[in-house]
Symmetry: C2
Subunit: 307 residues, 2 copies
């Protein structure tokens, strides 16, 4: 009913990071694209198969070093229902390999509809007598603009099925401040949203002190990371924006508590495209991804008390 | 590059409404469920086929009375990639029948990722030499919490491909005020978001005075509807919450401009489940949906200058 499973994996692997699987077709080595695209033609189906092969190879390499993956739903929706099938298969494959899976969907809606998203992504759906998990992820990112009744259905399922959510609080993008930094009284919108996360999670606090309701806080805003870590003691952070988006490891120091817990840092492109940066043989892409994942772990973990 | 196509259809049919297709399995008549579920077993695939048959029959009946449909993505994601295939097919079928299609996905992310959502839902995706429209909707609902760089990719595609978006401004749910009514200086968050819509849409204004960037404003908040109609003269409204959620037709008066334009009002459950309310033979469900769609049109249009 909290992020205990993820936190335990972070402690075990001494690695507070997550690899984002946002597989644009241009990231995928030519030999994989050729294998699928030449067989089936240049279709959404072929692209989706190539993406799954790419994801699978990366998961094979990183699963006993990195605790979690974060597939970004948009990069699967791009290929229509074929892409969504690849998302389902990627989630299943990562879980079979012992990884924690965070679907980055930033879903949001009114209560009744949010129940449908909840059941889809982290719960189950009844079809007649059958109870089926369409996606089966461990956690989902969500947007809290609609307030409590758009979050409550998620929290119920988190409690029943040992799942988690991350609510957008302070996002990593350049224009995040346009609304999120505006002051409500003396409090910026992001802190108001953060306070709501503490409230929403209050009854789901696990053994490490963190609830099932986490927050997304960008690595690109280190001051807010530090401020929010103090303000939201029971809210675990998912931290995007390290690396490619310009957030450095030292700025992440404030995201962690004194035990080195309380945050998991994401990197997507730098890991997926490590082979390009290294300039190695493209057939070595998955091992290059592992090398970058290890580099990132070592870069970040030095600023925590996890080791 | 704006909502002109939708507005023209509204004028032609003298009907400023949209039917939401949020097909929960429990809404679907038993005889349709039996037809698919007994053949294929109680699977996500069978459920998705039943939903498509249901949607198709409703579209057959309403397409020359109602200008648009609004499929809610959550109710398709619930059935995994099979459900997403039904979403694709529903969009295609509605467009073949001359309807305008608004995918209600409330998508949001940072710029690069928003580009993927944009291409998926209202744009096209390059796979090798092929340029494919995965979903091909005319418009998409989005959430503006991330600010301008999460919206810019959408506006570009709206301009290039004659599409539209609706940004969540004041949502219809009971807890929408928790964040949206909070004051930033003297201005509620929803009005700040509304002002951003005016800005984002400024270079896409069409011949009826409305831009490609619309706003979602709930029928359950008639005062804010009226206030926002005055404040946002170039922003077309998508108005959920009429009927089942408790918003009445008279309260919608303020959503429209003096020509009866500027808003399109959604009803989902009341139309889809009209046969249950009527108590008619379930095989008559599509005709009952049409009767309810006509009742809703007549109920709402009397408060506009459209007739």
């Amino acid at each position: 009913m909290s992020f205990d499973r993820l936190i335990e994996r972070i402690i075990e692997l001494k690695n507070p990071t997550v690899v984002g699987l946002d597989p644009k077709l241009e990231y995928i080595p030519e030999y994989i694209k050729r294998r699928y695209l030449d067989d089936d033609g240049w279709t959404l189906k072929a692209a989706s198969k190539a993406i799954f092969a790419f994801n699978q190879a990366i998961i094979d390499e990183i699963h006993d070093v990195v605790p979690a993956i974060k597939p970004q739903a948009a990069y699967y929706e791009m290929y229509g229902h074929y892409g969504i099938k690849t998302l389902e298969k990627t989630i299943r494959y990562a879980k079979l390999n012992g990884m924690f899976v965070i679907t980055d969907g930033k879903r949001n809606d009114i209560g009744a509809t949010m129940e449908a998203y909840t059941n889809a992504h982290i719960g189950s759906v009844k079809v007649g007598e059958n109870d089926i998990e369409p996606f089966g992820a461990d956690a989902l990112t969500v947007n809290g603009y609609l307030g409590t009744d758009g979050i409550a259905p998620l929290v119920n399922v988190c409690r029943e099925r040992d799942k988690g959510i991350y609510v957008l609080v302070k996002t990593s993008n350049p224009s995040s401040g346009e609304l999120q930094d505006k002051l409500i009284g003396d409090t910026p919108v992001y802190a108001v949203m953060g306070d709501m996360c503490e409230k929403w999670g209050a009854e789901t606090i696990g053994k490490y002190g963190y609830s099932a309701v986490g927050a997304v806080v960008g690595a690109t805003y280190p001051e807010q990371l530090t401020e929010l870590r103090k303000r939201l003691p029971h809210t675990m952070f998912l931290v995007p924006g390290y690396g490619a988006q310009g957030g450095g490891a030292e700025g992440l120091r404030g995201a962690f508590d004194e035990k080195g817990l309380g945050a998991v840092v994401n990197s997507s492109r730098a890991v997926m495209c490590a082979y390009k940066k290294e300039g190695c043989d493209e057939r070595d892409f998955a091992k290059a991804a592992l090398r970058e994942a290890i580099r990132m772990r070592d870069d970040i973990v030095q600023y925590t008390n996890l080791i």
